[in-house]
């Protein structure tokens, strides 16, 4: 069941991403982006990352995409004047994209991930005796919150994330002030001045 769901939403996510690239209309691109991001959120749920999936739905689909749609509405020019990519550029980009995907796929196929995981586990001898908490069934909210506060009951001996959390908090505040300063209303430039 979950395997079928995985393939369904993996195909939906890839299809959404490809239709973002192919659409020339910006509003349709935003709609495809919503499909893609929501499918990725379902993939997170299937992977047992329930809090990350919920955050993805709330912050990305509910926040960032709405912000983008507001941007599209505020900057839309006349419908007759659409910004189109020239076909030559499109073919060139498609060729480069296929080559780029081939490089990434070659790299993915060339690495033995299971052996890497064993090496990683062997490199942490202090934690070998202790059983790591199984996160495959979700319930990650409490361990995640504790990790952000600097306590790691799920992985004894590992460091917490209190300092990055504080840095990100200050960063968000600075970004909010900066965005409000940048986007304040100014006198518009008259075109035939």
């Amino acid at each position: 069941m979950s395997v079928a769901l995985f393939w369904l939403f993996a195909i939906l996510a890839c299809g959404g991403a490809i239709s973002v690239v192919l659409c020339q209309n910006v509003s349709r691109m935003a709609a495809s982006l919503i499909l893609c991001l929501a499918s990725v959120a379902v993939l997170y749920f299937l992977l047992g990352a329930d809090f990350v999936g919920a955050t993805q739905l709330m912050v990305y689909v509910g926040g960032t995409v709405v912000l983008l749609i507001f941007g599209i509405m505020l900057t839309s020019s006349s419908p007759s004047h659409q910004l189109r990519t020239s076909p030559a550029d499109g073919f060139l980009a498609a060729g480069i994209g296929v080559l780029f995907l081939a490089i990434v796929a070659f790299t993915i196929g060339g690495v033995d991930w299971a052996a890497n995981s064993q090496k990683l586990a062997a490199a942490e001898p202090a934690r070998q005796g202790q059983q790591q908490q199984d996160l495959s069934h979700g319930m990650t909210t409490r361990p995640l919150a504790l990790a952000l506060m600097g306590v790691r009951p799920d992985k004894p001996g590992a460091g917490g994330y209190l300092l990055p959390f504080e840095i990100v908090s200050v960063h968000l505040l600075v970004v909010l002030i900066g965005a409000a300063y940048l986007a304040r209303t100014k006198r518009r430039v008259v075109e035939n001045q």
Partner: protein, 103 residues
Amino acid sequence: MEAVSLNSLLWVGAVLFVCGVICMTTKRNAIGVLIGVELVLNGANLNFVAFSRYSPLALDGQVAAIFVIVLAAAEAAVALAIAMNFYNCHLSIDVDRGDELHG
């Protein structure tokens, strides 16, 4: 989910990443470029969460994913403010018209 291999998840992430890069390079609309950046960040995020599930990384991958989501939201806010300013200056959102610094 045990039957789904790590490689298939990495494949989905790779497709999202490549689509985002193409979107960033080919779109002439500044908002389209922003959408491409979001796609790239999502591809990277999917890899983080996949590795948190299939490797001893465990919770660290999910914490990294949350930080990426927060930073992506901040980036979108600032980039949209810059796009608004660009639109106010040029009365167009075409990135090809931002060539004042062209040598």
